[in-house]
């Protein structure tokens, strides 16, 4: 199987779906002539032309709304946010239009579209450019939320997202666009709501997604060196949530941590922990811990940022703590 970067897996998914379905188009800032701020759409303008690869001015409310309106009228937009930080500008469109229209029109309309782009902190970008948006979007009924961490998952899930009849928030990672992995040459789709065990073990369940995945895997590696074997579950979809996989693992390990990029307060981690205690309380041998950002705006200074971010070392400490291996 060929090894490709995540950015190319994303590009290939878009290209295949655009080839398959003329209603699919890509719209966003710098997606065409500039080939994407992170080069995720290289070659698409040349292949599909300006009708289907559409550069926008800086107008997130505008082009998110145009995407929604076009989707209602039968098209299949892929809207790229240069980063999800800028989706805040379009939040009303996503919250009150994309997520509501199917419901408030009693099913007369649907909004089959994808909002995609990089999410969460990158490196030293400061407080307004380092935010994780999954808690905001996963909070909203009427949306599907996906977060990917490998080229294989990125391609398979993006193709599913483009074909899905619902609005999908598709979270990528600026730090991980260059991550390489095997992707089959033949077509495949990955369904929503199915987690993937990225490493198997019976001692501690490590639940993670998106940019948290490589950190969790590294933490699991460090734990293994100390004789603790972790089950690393990459959720891949945050709404719907594959709690079955999580619960199966927790019933086996009796211990769990949730490791992710984002703030602790009211986040997706809280939802997972709430469901674990609702559905597997009797199986727990230790409180479920979160390893994530500290509850502060992201500082620019490197030494401070490193203290705020979830690291393999902090992951290891939490794994040891739930194992009572202090």
């Amino acid at each position: 199987m060929p090894e490709i970067q995540i950015r190319h897996a994303i590009r290939d998914a878009m290209r295949e779906e655009m080839t398959r379905d003329d209603r699919v188009f890509l719209m966003g800032e710098e997606v065409g002539h500039y080939k994407g701020a992170y080069k995720c759409s290289e070659g698409l303008l040349e292949e599909f032309g300006e009708r289907r690869v559409i550069d926008t001015p800086i107008a997130e409310t505008g082009f998110a709304g145009v995407g929604i309106g076009a989707a209602m009228a039968g098209l299949r937009p892929i809207i790229e946010f240069m980063t999800f930080n800028f989706s805040a500008v379009a939040f009303d469109q996503i919250l009150n239009n994309a997520a509501k229209i199917h419901h408030m029109t009693n099913g007369q309309h649907s909004v089959p579209m994808v909002f995609r782009g990089p999410n969460a902190g990158a490196h030293m970008l400061g407080s307004t450019h380092s935010q994780a948006f999954e808690p905001f979007y996963a909070h909203i009924p009427g949306l599907i939320v996906v977060a990917v961490a490998t080229p294989y998952d990125a391609k398979g899930l993006l193709k599913t997202a483009i074909r899905d009849p619902n609005p999908v928030i598709f979270l990528e990672s600026e730090l991980m666009y260059g991550v390489k992995g095997e992707v089959p040459e033949e077509e495949y789709l990955i369904p929503f709501g199915v987690a993937d065990t990225k490493r198997a073990g019976d001692d501690v369940t490590v639940i993670t997604w998106g940019q948290g995945v490589p950190v969790a895997l590294k933490a699991a590696e460090l734990a293994a060196e100390q004789g603790i074997e972790c089950d690393v579950i990459d959720l891949r979809t945050l709404r719907p949530l594959d709690m079955e996989s999580v619960l199966e693992s927790v019933r086996r390990t009796n211990r769990a941590i949730v490791l992710f990029h984002g703030w602790p307060y009211g986040g997706v981690g809280c939802e997972i922990i709430a469901q674990i205690q609702e559905k597997a309380f009797d199986h727990l041998d230790a409180p479920v811990l979160r390893v994530c950002y500290e509850d502060v705006p992201m500082p620019y200074a490197e030494n401070l940022e490193n203290l705020v971010l979830p690291t393999p070392e902090r992951g290891l400490a939490a794994i040891r703590e739930v194992s009572y291996a202090r």
């Binding site: 107008a59 409310t61 505008g62 490196h123 450019h129 620019y300 030494n303 401070l304």
Partner: protein, 339 residues
């Protein structure tokens, strides 16, 4: 106000129209040079991995910041974008503190929490430092609202890029400023690109000032080729805003000589365009005016350059030798702590 179309003086080598006394030209030259040398050193530090994150240089646009300083009254405010270093240096921020900010050091302008994109220096009238496109426009409008409310006679200068013209908050800020007749000058620094997107793919008109009547704003529009002209015309705008309490829109046609940020090779611009714009470089033109109009020698100007370079090298040294923030600094200033 006049509304000159994009019509620069016919000859970049004509120094009569907008070069004044030797004293002024020399002072402005020095200030522009301070910004340029500062930026060059920031770029060098970035290349050496000492500065991280995004770094957007102001090289080519320096005359605007210097002219702004020239017309500012003590009660006025400047609100700008992530391309702010030039304003900080021109308004009197310490180059050492500016450089240290980008190094993420405790001695930085905002103690290392902001980096290049978030320069704030309230004591020197710099009120930001914003990096979500357009979201400072209503905020700046609010500063003007406060000035009118308090009757403090202050004018807010709100700078925005040509890329901020399409986004909603700009429209909303302009609407409120016009509706409530607020003392604010909105200055569009039209450097013709937002990242790789030329103006003609950003907004449906090429003359930004055609928007002004819709917000009941007076307007002006010209190419920035000297500090003197820019200061004169910004002063006229500020006078209108201050004396008649009304918003004014000024479109400055300018150019960034470098890419959008350090990671942008700017392949979307052709050589001729860059060369043409460089021929109007206010810094270069002032240099020539100092030599040809004011009779300064190359040696004297080189000496001045050496002084400026030494000042900026000291800034780099200050940044390098400064301590990083204390670990506990990350918990500071999240909410106001009453002491």
């Amino acid at each position: 106000m006049t509304n000159d179309k994009d019509s620069p003086p016919a000859d970049p080598g004509n120094y009569d129209a907008y070069f004044t006394s030797k004293e002024n030209d020399l002072r402005w030259y020095r200030e522009m040079l301070r910004i340029r040398r500062f930026e060059e050193m920031a770029a060098r530090s970035y290349t050496r991995g000492k500065i991280s994150g995004f770094l957007h240089l102001y090289i080519g646009q320096e005359a605007i910041a210097v002219a702004t300083k020239e017309v500012l009254e003590p009660q006025d405010r400047v609100v700008s974008t992530y391309r702010t270093h030039g304003f900080a240096i021109a308004l009197g921020s310490s180059p050492g503190a500016c450089m240290a900010e980008m190094y993420g050091k405790a001695t930085g302008l905002v103690a290392g929490v902001g980096g290049s994109m978030h320069f704030f220096d309230r004591d020197n009238q710099l009120w930001g430092g914003y990096a979500i496109i357009g979201n400072h426009v209503p905020v700046a409008t609010g500063h003007a609202f406060a000035s009118k409310y308090l009757g403090d006679d202050g004018v807010t200068f709100c700078f925005l890029g040509d890329g901020a013209l399409a986004i909603g908050p700009t429209h909303e800020g302009w609407t409120l400023a016009g509706l409530w007749k607020l003392p604010i000058v909105f200055v569009v620094e039209n450097n013709r690109y937002s990242m790789g997107t030329p103006l003609e793919r950003s907004i449906p008109v090429s003359d930004v000032t055609v928007k002004a009547p819709g917000y009941n704003m007076a307007s002006d529009r010209f190419r920035v080729t000297s500090v003197a002209e820019t200061a004169e015309r910004l002063a006229a705008a500020a006078k209108l805003a201050r004396e008649e309490s009304r918003p004014v829109l000024v479109e400055l046609i300018t150019y960034r000589f470098r890419g959008h940020s350090m990671s942008d090779p700017a392949k979307y611009r052709n050589r001729d365009e860059v060369a043409e714009s460089r021929s109007w470089d206010p810094l270069e033109r002032t240099y020539n005016a100092l030599m040809h109009k004011h009779g300064m020698t190359e040696e004297a100007l080189e000496e001045l350059d050496d002084e400026v370079v030494a000042e900026m090298e000291a800034a780099v040294e200050f940044a390098e030798n400064s301590p990083v923030p204390e670990p506990s600094a990350r918990f500071k200033n999240i909410l106001v702590e009453e002491s």
